[in-house]
């Protein structure tokens, strides 16, 4: 402990009585930094006093600098890694793409997870839910009873800046192949995703021919641009954050009531629909694990499954028949194994040909189907 028991008792009483902070006179804990500013997150900081910060001893000589291990970053290296895109356009490259081109790319690379027109599939996120300007109005919805609609938090209704979309598509999408899209691809996909959210650009509705480029990208104003607090922009940005979190009324605080804290008996809310399906099921038994059925070598089919197919077939949320789900697979097999091979090779519904991995040979795809079929036996 870095404080005396006396101090803890004293401060408990003060907290209980007034709910205000009583920071210690000995300066081992403080709500301000050494520059006099309040701690940015509304919490405490532990300055170095007598060679210690809180309970930790510290060698203050280590903090003086003078280290020469690093080498300078070259301009080329910084350019190669500086992949972020900021709301003021910093980092946004030249390029262009139309809504129609975006639509085609979307069909080929995005539909299998994000659904038709960005409707989402399974637990993969939706990208649009109707007109974004209308959707913003749902952000005050509260599901205080189960029949109410919740707030719509998709790109168009929620995200404050389109720069975030460009940056995210470029560096994070498609999920299994990030950094694979060209700058033009990203402009085209951004245009398409804006269009399905019915977001206008500089007053213009986005039809198929609409072309997004670096210049008009900067004119995008997202419907929920002002939907976030505190205001983090400009020279006062961090001070606004500081002031926001210094006031617990903004995010809630309790009271230290000890006796008869409410009238009558407690109102209890019990579990209505219990969520289960834990993997593996809960158990605290101390026993020996059951033997694996046949812990042999991993087949090629299994390896390909894990690399290429599990993204969709590993999770029932996707709608694809899940590995090992006997019911789902017996339905698939009604048409016969050749039909299953054919679908795997050519694609079916949301599934792309060869599961999206065109480097696989037909034989490899069939071996993978065999592995998946056997798993459901």
């Amino acid at each position: 402990m870095f404080k005396s028991c006396h101090k803890i008792l004293l401060s408990s009483v003060v907290v209980a009585a007034t709910s205000t902070v009583a920071f210690a006179a000995d300066k081992t804990v403080s709500n301000t930094y050494s520059n006099g500013k309040k701690v940015i997150d509304g919490g405490a900081t532990y300055p170095i006093v007598n060679g210690k910060t809180s309970a930790y001893h510290i060698n203050e000589n280590t903090l003086q600098g003078g280290y020469s291990y690093a080498r300078p970053a070259t301009p080329n290296e910084m350019k190669a890694w500086d992949i972020d895109v900021m709301p003021d356009g910093t980092g946004l490259p030249e390029g262009k793409g139309t809504v129609e081109e975006g639509d085609e790319l979307y069909e080929a690379k995005c539909t299998s997870c994000h659904g038709d027109f960005g409707s989402g599939s399974g637990s993969f996120p939706a990208l649009a839910k109707g007109n974004a300007y209308e959707g913003v109005k749902t952000l005050t919805n509260q599901r205080t009873n189960p029949d109410k609609d919740g707030p719509i938090r998709v790109f168009g209704t929620y995200w404050p800046y389109a720069s975030t979309l460009w940056w995210y598509i470029k560096t994070g999408m498609p999920h299994n192949a990030p950094l694979s899209l060209s700058n033009d691809d990203v402009y085209a996909l951004s245009a398409y995703i804006l269009s399905i959210n019915e977001v206008t650009v500089d007053g213009e509705e986005l039809d198929d021919e609409f072309e997004l480029n670096k210049e008009n990208f900067m004119k995008i104003e997202m419907p929920n641009k002002d939907g976030f607090v505190p205001n983090i922009d400009g020279p006062k940005g961090t001070d606004n954050v500081r002031a926001y979190f210094a006031d617990t009324k903004n995010y809630g605080n309790g009271t230290r009531c000890m006796k008869n804290c409410f009238d009558g008996k407690p109102e209890i809310q019990r579990i209505q629909t219990e969520i289960g399906g834990f993997n593996p099921p809960l158990s605290t038994a101390r026993d020996l694990p059951k033997q694996e059925e046949s812990a042999g070598a991993v087949s090629e089919g299994q390896k390909i499954y894990e690399k290429t197919c599990a993204v969709c077939h590993g999770n029932e949320a996707m709608g694809a028949p899940v590995l090992g789900d006997k019911q789902a697979w017996s339905a698939v097999l009604k048409k016969g194994i050749d039909a299953v091979y054919k679908n795997a090779l050519n694609g079916v519904n949301a599934m792309p040909p060869k599961g999206g991995n065109m480097s696989l040979s037909d034989e490899q795809v069939k071996a993978t189907v065999d592995y998946m079929v056997n798993k459901a036996k």
Binding site: Y69, D88, F228, N250, G314
Partner: protein, 444 residues
């Protein structure tokens, strides 16, 4: 040692082909002698009469007591007892963003002792799978508003003087599925998006001393080198206070799930901000607006505005014994039992914890136990005489920055029920007459 240990598994003929024949024969003679004495002991024990009421676990010879255990050459990286196979992380499809590469595994906090999570049980949230990075090919770049932008290899980074700290890391969505009511009858799923470790690394402020941070730098982008390239914006205040780049966890290298070879550690702040597989720090005048600080990790309030840059995890606590996984069904009336739990605050140090047996109407103060450190899990304890009566058990923590855990009612009054993140309302367990434990919420 290796050679003699291997002996027991080798045949005699193999042994005789080796050059050190005489010493090995000595070993075999000794082994034979031990075996004989073990047999002798067994035959002496066997005739003992076993009465009803005698515990067979005591009266019966156990195989591990009468034969040799494993040689020291087995498991050169140790593993838990096979009997502990249920003490593991668990997953749920409902907590995935589509697939297991954008998902979370929950820490078994009901089996957790003290304030340190073993590295193999630390909760794991990933956005693009667990990257397996070759540390020799990994670099840390620090650039932007600094006079001297630099690149560091991992060996160079580890040359900096290190600091070691105990801190929890918590996903701000911990407990988030239960804003509108309890859903999981399990502590692992209700509160297992957190773990705690002793971290070793370097203060970022130590590195910055030599780089010439420009006065207009207000923000730092931290970005991962994994396939998600996840970035988050950190205010300079935190960078210059206690932000660290860590390479070790509980005395060994970070696990890949925790960002091997390096991750950012912002003590007390959202786990998502503690960027794993850290590759780049860029200083700037304006915030970056990364996807995980706008689309997600923002807390929507009833007025339709969402809190962004909601950094610190607020003061929180939960009773871990009893809990749904560790009920009191084996207790007899009159048994004295310890109620134990975890309290933590990302805003400071735990000052105290109160416990209620009647759903929060009346409270008594529990004891803290063990180490009490800033932005760290802290254990609390209360001795209770079990009476076999139904209870509504609750805990309420407070920290030295003046924060007190709110009731569900108090928290909903400010945040509504659609925030997803930063839920720290008082957690309650219903204990039935039989000692079973259920997850409930008290709305009073």
């Amino acid at each position: 040692m290796n050679k003699t240990s291997n002996m027991s598994n080798e045949t005699l003929s193999n042994v005789q082909e080796t050059t050190e024949q005489s010493s090995r024969r000595d070993f075999f003679r000794k082994t034979a002698a031990y075996s004989v004495s073990a047999l002798a002991a067994a035959s002496v024990m066997a005739p003992v009469k076993v009465n009803a009421g005698d515990d067979p676990a005591i009266m019966k010879e156990q195989p591990w007591a009468t034969s040799l255990g494993d040689p020291v050459t087995k498991n050169q990286y140790g593993v838990p007892s096979a009997y502990e196979h249920n003490n593991i992380r668990r997953t749920s499809e409902l907590l995935s963003s589509g697939n297991w590469e954008a998902s979370i595994s929950m820490c078994p906090i009901h089996e957790s002792e003290g304030i340190i999570t073993p590295n193999g049980l630390f909760f794991n949230r990933v956005h693009g799978g667990v990257a397996q990075i070759n540390p020799n090919q990994h670099r840390l770049m620090i650039h932007g508003l600094v006079e001297k932008p630099i690149v560091l290899t991992m060996d160079q980074l580890k040359r900096y003087p290190s600091v070691t700290r105990i801190h929890f890391i918590e996903c701000p969505a911990n407990g988030g599925p239960e804003w509108r009511g309890p859903q999981f009858n399990s502590i692992q799923f209700a509160k297992g998006m957190m773990s705690s470790a002793q971290w070793t690394g370097v203060y970022i402020k130590t590195i910055l001393k030599d780089l010439g941070l420009k006065p207009e730098a207000q923000w730092m982008l931290a970005e991962g080198g994994d396939s998600s390239h996840m970035g988050r914006t950190v205010p300079i205040d935190k960078v210059l206070d206690d932000a660290m780049i860590v390479w070790a966890q509980n005395g060994e290298a970070l696990r890949p799930e925790q960002g091997y070879p390096i991750r950012l550690l912002l003590p007390g702040w959202e786990g998502n901000l503690c960027v794993k597989w850290l590759a780049r720090l860029q200083f700037a005048k304006e915030p970056f607006y990364a996807k995980e600080e706008t689309a997600k990790y923002t807390a929507l309030k009833p007025d339709g505005k969402a809190i962004q840059h909601f950094y610190a995890l607020e003061v929180n606590s939960i009773i871990t014994k009893p809990c749904p996984e560790k009920p009191w069904t084996d207790l007899k009336k009159g048994d004295l039992v310890e109620i134990e739990g975890l309290a933590w605050s990302g805003m400071g140090t735990i000052e105290g914890v109160d416990i209620s047996f009647d759903g929060g109407k009346n409270w008594v103060e529990a004891s803290l136990k063990g180490l009490v450190l800033p932005k760290s899990w802290t254990r609390f304890s209360y001795m209770y005489k079990y009476e076999g009566k139904p209870l509504i058990l609750a805990s309420r923590a407070r920290d030295d920055a003046g924060h007190i855990q709110p009731s569900v009612k108090q928290e909903r009054a400010v945040m509504g029920v659609e925030s997803v993140y930063h839920r720290n309302a008082i957690h309650t367990w219903e204990v039935t007459e039989k000692g079973e434990v259920n997850n409930v919420q008290v709305l009073s």
